[in-house]
Subunit: 439 residues, 2 copies
Amino acid sequence: MGEHKAEVAPRAAALGVAVLGCGSVGSQVVRLLEEQAADLEARIGARVELRGVAVRRLDAPREVEVPEGLLTTDAQGLVSRDDVDLVIEVIGGIEPARSLVLTALEHGASVVTANKALLAEDGPTLYEAAERAGRDLYYEAAVAGAIPILRPLRESLAGDKVTRVLGIVNGTTNFVLDKMDTTGAGFAEALEEAQELGYAEADPTADVEGFDAAAKAAILASLAFHSRVTANDVHREGISEVTAADVASAREMGAVVKLLAIAELTDGAVAVRVHPAMIPRSHPLASVREAFNAVFVESEAAGQLMFYGPGAGGAPTASAVLGDLVTVARNRLAGTRGAGESAYAAREVLPMGRTVTRYHVAIDVDDRAGVLAAVATAFAEQDVSIQTVRQEGRDEDAQLVVVSHRATDAQLSATVEAVRAMPFVREVTSVMRVEGEGE
Amino acid sequence: MGEHKAEVAPRAAALGVAVLGCGSVGSQVVRLLEEQAADLEARIGARVELRGVAVRRLDAPREVEVPEGLLTTDAQGLVSRDDVDLVIEVIGGIEPARSLVLTALEHGASVVTANKALLAEDGPTLYEAAERAGRDLYYEAAVAGAIPILRPLRESLAGDKVTRVLGIVNGTTNFVLDKMDTTGAGFAEALEEAQELGYAEADPTADVEGFDAAAKAAILASLAFHSRVTANDVHREGISEVTAADVASAREMGAVVKLLAIAELTDGAVAVRVHPAMIPRSHPLASVREAFNAVFVESEAAGQLMFYGPGAGGAPTASAVLGDLVTVARNRLAGTRGAGESAYAAREVLPMGRTVTRYHVAIDVDDRAGVLAAVATAFAEQDVSIQTVRQEGRDEDAQLVVVSHRATDAQLSATVEAVRAMPFVREVTSVMRVEGEGE
């Protein structure tokens, strides 16, 4: 709580900037720093001077020409320099990024980072270091690429109470699910197309198994609820088991399957999870196509807000980095810090079993009398109320599609286990959570 | 340019707030100030104390109970008080709002306003007064209600270059057009339904003729392009002449009709306009339903971003006001100002005739040979290139639907005039601009 007035004035009429990393994002940052130099000076009120660009190898090929003498492999030396006021970290990964950010803050620099993995694993350490140093730590680019979500959550909604955040925060999985929805393809086929088009990596695990989305979910939950959630707190399920039948079943009920990062506040506790879910086609998130990202925010006074844009890419991410740079530079010139990380609430993180959600369950059953009644009884025994049942005869067998009302995940999964064990149940063909609707 | 460091420290450990107006927004502001008092104190770093609420009549019914002794009819006296640090103006309209805001700034208060009409008519006067006073003037609530758009444009994209803003910024007209699209109703019928449901006023002129959207377009253009655009600069067409046939014709080409507020930067000049337009159903703005608002932003580095949410309503607007309040209060405690209005570019505002757009034109013609060739010639004579033509025979006559490539509005309207005068043309049944697509 309270205001953190930094007593240090800018070290010079110009602000010194160090860029760590010169890959797809770093090279765009260097390019924009040069191209937008005059605009940046006008908006900040001081010149921004590039002091150095730290890279692993001097002779690696890169997308931008770095001015003579500014490339260095000594990143620690660069962030320790007295004439570096602002450090932009776009290396990614945990180390050496963490050590470099901590060194930069200790030496009095403000930091802008795009590093979701680092923030999700060890955000609190970084926030505390920034606070101790009286410096800014901004990270708009770490969640949902260029989409401005940090400022809306930190500042625009500062007088409101956010209750829930639903995000499509991984472009690869959204591309794959969108393909499955529009073409009827299965997961493997859609993934292959994504790989061919460059939307998925050769090893797509981090994306399709939800690790990337889980890191972003942790950051979103921390921001939205002024709490400290790390990636370990996030329940995670990927999309590799989503079938063409799931997608078709969603379509039949006017829904679409999306991989959602969900953070909710329930009685003061935080629930954070990443899993595929069906959402109604009328929901704003349903229209997020291809590799785009979007973050849907529910708050008490503002109601429903959505922020949409490219979730990745060198130039979009660099745009977010530069936006942070302008704010951090202005704060520095004014001798102040931005709306901070200081007012934190210690919040319980709910285990998945206690999280409240809804299930869509498709079951192949023998087509005989009493089946529907027996299934309904299984739901009732776990105290799960049913919203709709659709029954379709198919030759000798039939399919039941049940959508529940809200219940805890533990109740719902126990119900599914009970149903699976019933003698007339041939197979539970699809189990998926339903989000983005009322009760 | 440069930084505006206010030398005045907060006048007390607590910040004094005056609220001007206690209608649907003001009463929600007063309610939130009370309900969120503890959270606001934590986020700001100082208590916020309500010093007074200015109203026109003390005995009018209101939605919130204002604490004893705080209601006053002396607004000028209230904003001149030494113990008022922050003034929230939610009266609306030009006067007395303008005088009160200017008096507040002169007396050293920072101002948060939701007043789009005032900003669109006389924004520059207010910005200059704030700058002279070294105080903040924030107005997130004035455009698109609770949707955070001011901060993204001012701050998040500060290192990028915005090239175009397309907004659905009027909920009433979006509700009417959405009804027409989903039910096939005509304008009058859809408007009547909107009025019955409270989405349109008894006199709907300000909404349906685009005046409200034009005011917001001026503010958006000013923000996006760091320029000074007023409502008078905005070319304005409403939706009262949109027909069921227009909407059906849009549907046939996979598009939907929306009232768009458009601000574009072309060779350093600004073009600002409000008119109905067809946009493809795959465009993110197409999925903005009912009375929701959204602002779609195109920028060089970030690409395409969209901000979606409720465009009006007491609680959503109050949420935006409170978000501004937190920022302004923090700036005040830090003795600084927010990213400012100072770096302005004097930009030419293009007349509508020079604005570049595309037309969709539906024409009833006699069904005889040579008609298509003659129409195509009329387009070619104005140097307007045709993207698609659809020809449908209907008994003795036929309908031609032509969609052009991009050309100036002057060329396009001259083309339509030429077509209208052709002997075999029975009627030009629909002329509408097409937006949200490539060239």
